[in-house]
């Protein structure tokens, strides 16, 4: 049977489980990038994100039966595995978070400014983005993943709740506290007075 690019994830997964490499490749290409970005934003490390994505798909190849279509979509399932891998990764490397992620060629990775600013503006904006990224990275993991999913991945609260397997109220609550912490950090970066003293303690 010929595989079509728009075949459903479940069908592709069934075929992958039988050793169909083409089906597995389509699944990988369909979901790897978004998982990689999520992992990168959560770990701040491109190497870490690579390792996590690889682990996620090897888990999928090894135990495809763990996915239950009745419990949610395959992307949500993959996000769940990614999240667990990120937790383990962060437990392993909790202390070092570099402000500037280096690529293999030594250049800064991840943050790319496409606008044609002057070099000074470019440098200023780049520095600013690095600080924002560092502020996100410093959030406690449960707030960070909610902020990353809702603010960076632009998921709806409902989608985030399904990925994190928690009620939507929990998402709202974590986001509220995550925002408070994030705002406090960003305010500090701006040297501006903190306006959110009531919650960002």
């Amino acid at each position: 049977m010929k595989i079509r690019q728009n075949d459903q994830d479940e069908e592709l997964l069934k075929r992958s489980a039988k050793g169909d490499e083409e089906a597995f490749t389509i699944l990988y290409r369909r979901h790897a990038d978004v998982l990689y970005r999520f992992a990168f934003r959560m770990t701040g490390s491109s190497w870490g994100a690579e390792e996590i994505v690889q682990d996620v798909f090897m888990t999928l190849a090894r135990e495809p039966g763990k996915y239950d279509a009745e419990r949610g979509t395959l992307p949500a399932f993959l996000f769940g595995i990614t999240r667990n891998k990120i937790m383990k990764y962060n437990e392993r490397l909790p202390r070092e978070i570099s402000l500037v992620e280096r690529q293999e060629d030594g250049s800064g990775g991840g943050l790319t400014l496409r606008d044609s600013f002057t070099p000074a503006m470019w440098a200023e904006q780049r520095e600013r983005l690095e600080k924002v990224r560092a502020a996100v990275m410093e959030l406690p993991i449960e707030f960070r993943e909610t902020v990353v999913l809702c603010e960076l991945e632009e998921m709806s609260y409902d989608q985030a709740a399904r990925v994190l397997e928690c009620p939507i109220g929990t998402i709202r609550s974590r986001l509220h506290r995550g925002r408070a912490l994030l705002l406090a950090k960003l305010e500090m970066l701006r040297d501006a007075p903190r306006r959110w003293s009531s919650v960002a303690r």
Binding site: Y28, F40, S46, A61, R62, E153, E154, R172
Partner: protein, 234 residues
């Protein structure tokens, strides 16, 4: 901080009002109330503005990494491991099928080989006299004119041999003098071409007029390799 005049207070605004435009689960009424609160509460309005600025920065951060793609080497590694995981299974299945196929083929070949060998064996004995050397000798033993107990030449045997050649179409074996019937169970029949005079070497009388003729003879060879009986073919 409660405004008193408004339905939504500051605490509620911080929790649900800040993202009222994005929260799809929020009712229109709650959204309206949060907007109304932000209009009348300076602190919450400032908080909203601060969050909007932070959101812009987060959006810039998201945009800056939106084009991130997982490196190709990861795909190569993942697919390589996928192959390693699944190929052995396919190879195992292939090997199993191949083994069963070879075993079945070997069985068929053996069966046909044995059957063919039996057929050949029967063909080499039968068609002329009987199915086996023993049966051939039984025929010899039953011959009324044969003396199986004596080692002395049987004078009539030459006649029998020559007569058998004509009357029976060469179907009867003649036991050679001094041969033992017990030794031929696993023996073989060997067809040879010889001068008639050579029959004398078996202790058989030879007609001297035809001694130089070439004849075909089936020799029944015993398990010890010695000739036990002969049969003229022509």
């Amino acid at each position: 901080m409660k405004t008193g005049r408004l339905d939504m207070n500051c605490e509620e605004f911080e929790i649900v009002g800040l993202d009222s435009q994005r929260d799809g689960s929020m009712s229109d009424d709650s959204r309206q109330r949060s907007m109304q609160h932000a209009r009348v509460c300076g602190r919450c309005a400032a908080l909203g503005a601060s969050w909007a600025a932070a959101q812009a920065e987060l959006a810039a951060l998201a945009e800056s990494s939106r084009m991130l793609r997982v490196p190709a080497r990861v795909e190569a590694r993942v697919l390589q491991q996928f192959r390693l995981r699944h190929q052995p299974r396919q190879e195992r299945r292939f090997l199993q099928l191949a083994t069963w196929g070879l075993a079945a083929a070997a069985l068929i070949v053996c069966t046909f080989g044995v059957w063919d060998w039996h057929k050949w064996r029967q063909g080499s004995l039968g068609g002329n006299i009987t199915a086996s050397p023993v049966a051939a000798l039984d025929a010899v033993s039953d011959h009324p004119r044969r003396s199986s107990t004596t080692n002395a030449p049987i004078t009539d045997d030459s006649e029998f041999l020559m007569a058998g050649n004509e009357s029976n179409g060469g179907n009867d074996f003649t036991q050679l003098p001094g041969s033992s019937l017990q030794d031929v169970e696993d023996g073989a029949i060997v067809r040879v071409r010889m001068e008639r005079a050579s029959l004398a070497a078996f202790g058989l009388p030879v007609n001297e007029d035809e001694a130089s003729d070439w004849i075909q003879v089936d020799v029944l060879v015993g398990i010890d390799g010695s000739a036990q009986a002969v049969r003229l073919r022509e």
